[in-house]
């Protein structure tokens, strides 16, 4: 019985969330396997003379009834750009589900989620799937300016939303780790989860380590295969070089060899 799959999905939605972020929703005819926050898919970029390999994207939403998946794609280069040009009705080949998920919080946990850039996708998924009452879930969403933020208001059913932006145009001014929720309450959380640019995750990890709080981050190393055979995506850890695609992308910060 296979545990990982390759299949063509139908594109049923492609919506610009802002200038560079797109919500792409896709549907398959087969039953979806169980998927947890932190896992990702590897997407084929068709019709490009420049892109050769697939591109990994976090799973953002799952609907097991409709067999749909959603992802948030930020335009970074040629592959993501091409992907965001896809039209409803086109097909998208996925390898899925890939990688390890975030540790599920226990019922009494108070958790803090920190998302930056396209890293908001797995954070929002985790907020929704945490199973915790909204009061136990805080989420800080960071971006450069208001225009870089995406509208996630409807997630306020699952978490208390906090915003930060470097220029102060939305929420508190500064980096996510300068947000008052982060600086003042960090120690009060049982678990901290982060996904976003390297610098941001390292800053979160540094503070969490100092505060002695459980912290998991989701890495975005360059990948060739996405399922553990090429050994290109490795990250140095206390257990040696591990594959981000199979041993991660979620890592406990204590495992990582980050100089923080």
């Amino acid at each position: 019985m296979p545990k990982k799959f390759v299949a063509d999905f139908n594109v049923i939605q492609n919506t610009a969330l802002n200038k560079t972020n797109f919500l792409i929703k896709i549907q398959t005819e087969s039953k979806l396997p169980g998927i947890l926050p932190g896992q990702f898919v590897n997407v084929e970029i068709k019709n490009s003379q420049e892109v050769f390999l697939r591109r990994p994207f976090s799973i953002f939403e799952v609907d097991y009834k409709l067999n749909t998946l959603a992802m948030i794609v930020k335009i970074l280069g040629k592959g993501s750009e091409k992907l965001t040009n896809i039209r409803v009705g086109d097909t998208l080949s996925l390898v899925y589900p890939l990688g390890k998920h975030f540790t599920k919080p226990s019922a009494s946990d108070k958790i803090l989620l920190v998302g930056g850039g396209s890293g908001v996708a797995p954070m929002l998924f985790l907020a929704k799937e945490s199973g915790l009452p909204k009061q136990q879930v805080d989420i800080i969403l960071g971006a450069r300016t208001q225009a870089d933020h995406i509208n996630v208001q409807h997630y306020s059913d699952f978490a208390t939303l906090h915003y930060s932006s470097e220029d102060g145009s939305l929420g508190e001014k500064g980096f996510v780790t300068q947000h008052s929720v982060f600086t003042q309450n960090l120690k009060t959380y049982d678990k901290v989860y982060a996904c976003g640019p390297d610098g941001m995750m390292k800053a979160v990890a540094r503070q969490a380590k100092l505060a002695g709080v459980f912290c998991e981050v989701s890495l975005e190393n360059l990948m060739a295969c996405g399922f553990g055979v090429c050994l290109c995506c490795i990250e140095p850890t206390t257990k040696g070089n591990l594959c981000v695609c199979t041993d991660g992308p979620v890592f406990n910060i204590n495992e990582l060899k980050w100089q923080i």
Binding site: P2, E44, F52, L53, A224, F227, C230, E235, G240, N241
Partner: protein, 303 residues
């Protein structure tokens, strides 16, 4: 439904489609997608005597119709394989072939001795062509004396099918092939990756931690195909064709040029199920062309 069975020296493959070393893990990773018994065989991830951490990140760069890798033979060592991986995969109903790598001749010998004891491993692929390690590897594979020496010494201790994997980074690959044939190789496989390089122009730094790395994928196919053709015409032992095979047509081209079996590598990253599609495509091709057996395809190019 044509007969897909082919032989490589004294090994039978249920079909000529196998997966290349370093691109299919230890076969169990592929078993998460499909039943390994559906393929001719698996060339397992390169093993060394001792644990190797491999090279630093980044190890990968995408190129036009291909990619560079600089993995550097990361693996837990042959003993770990024997104790922890072999038991799990040994009953897969397919050919499992170890890919062995040394920094010295002694390494190769010791590895071959150990693998010789493994009941379900019927062959080794002697990798004398890895471009991503400082010692050994390609250094042996780019001169006739080097290639001969390793082959000769391993031949003394290894009693099953010995396949030598050749480097394409040479002036005349047929000479190297003939040299290893002389020393008792049962087959040659080619090609390993081409030494290449990628630069991040904006940052003005190499894209790989090791500066250079190994090029694979469809970009190299025309050169690999030429080499398989040359070698198949130069030696009597069978040839394993490798390099940029992405679909059934590519596989067929390598067989026409003289390969008895082929290995699919980088294509797996694009589609983990690709090898099954290639088996199907080969079958259809043989039927369409009224060819009874895959054997009849081997070296049947009309020139």
């Amino acid at each position: 439904m044509a007969d897909l069975k082919v032989r490589l020296h004294d090994l039978e493959f249920k079909n000529p489609i196998t997966l290349a070393s370093g691109t299919c893990g230890f076969a169990r990773e592929m078993a998460e997608f499909f039943d390994p018994a559906l393929l001719g065989g698996f060339f397992l991830k390169g093993s060394t005597l001792k644990n190797r951490d491999g090279n630093e990140y980044p190890r990968m760069a995408e190129t036009a119709a291909g990619m560079l890798n600089a993995v550097g033979l990361q693996n837990k060592g042959v003993d770990y394989f024997i104790e922890n991986i072999y038991p799990e995969i040994k009953d897969y109903d397919t050919q499992l072939i170890m890919n062995v790598n040394g920094s010295t001749v002694e390494d190769y010998i010791e590895l071959a001795e150990k693998v010789n004891e493994l009941d379900k491993i019927n062959a080794i692929e002697l990798n004398i062509s890895c471009p991503n390690v400082k010692e050994g590897g390609m250094a042996f594979g780019v001169t006739c004396p080097g290639a001969e020496m390793v082959t000769r010494e391993v031949r003394k201790v290894y009693h099953k099918t010995l396949i030598v994997k050749l480097s394409p980074n040479v002036t005349d690959i047929s000479e190297i092939a003939k040299a290893v044939e002389r020393q008792g190789a049962d087959a040659v496989s080619l090609v390993n990756t081409f030494l290449g390089m990628a630069i991040d122009a904006e940052k003005r730094v190499p894209k790989l931690s090791t500066i250079t790395g190994g090029l694979s994928g469809p970009a190299i196919k025309p050169i690999a195909l030429r080499m398989v053709w040359q070698v198949a015409n130069a030696v009597k032992i069978p040839v394993v064709g490798i390099g940029g095979i992405m679909n059934a047509t590519d596989a067929i081209e390598f067989m026409l040029a003289g390969a008895s079996i082929v290995q699919v590598g980088t294509a797996i990253f694009k589609d983990p199920m690709i090898a099954l599609k290639i088996v199907k495509g080969l079958d259809e091709y043989l039927d369409r062309h009224n060819i009874q057996s895959a054997n009849n395809l081997i070296g049947s190019l009309q020139v």
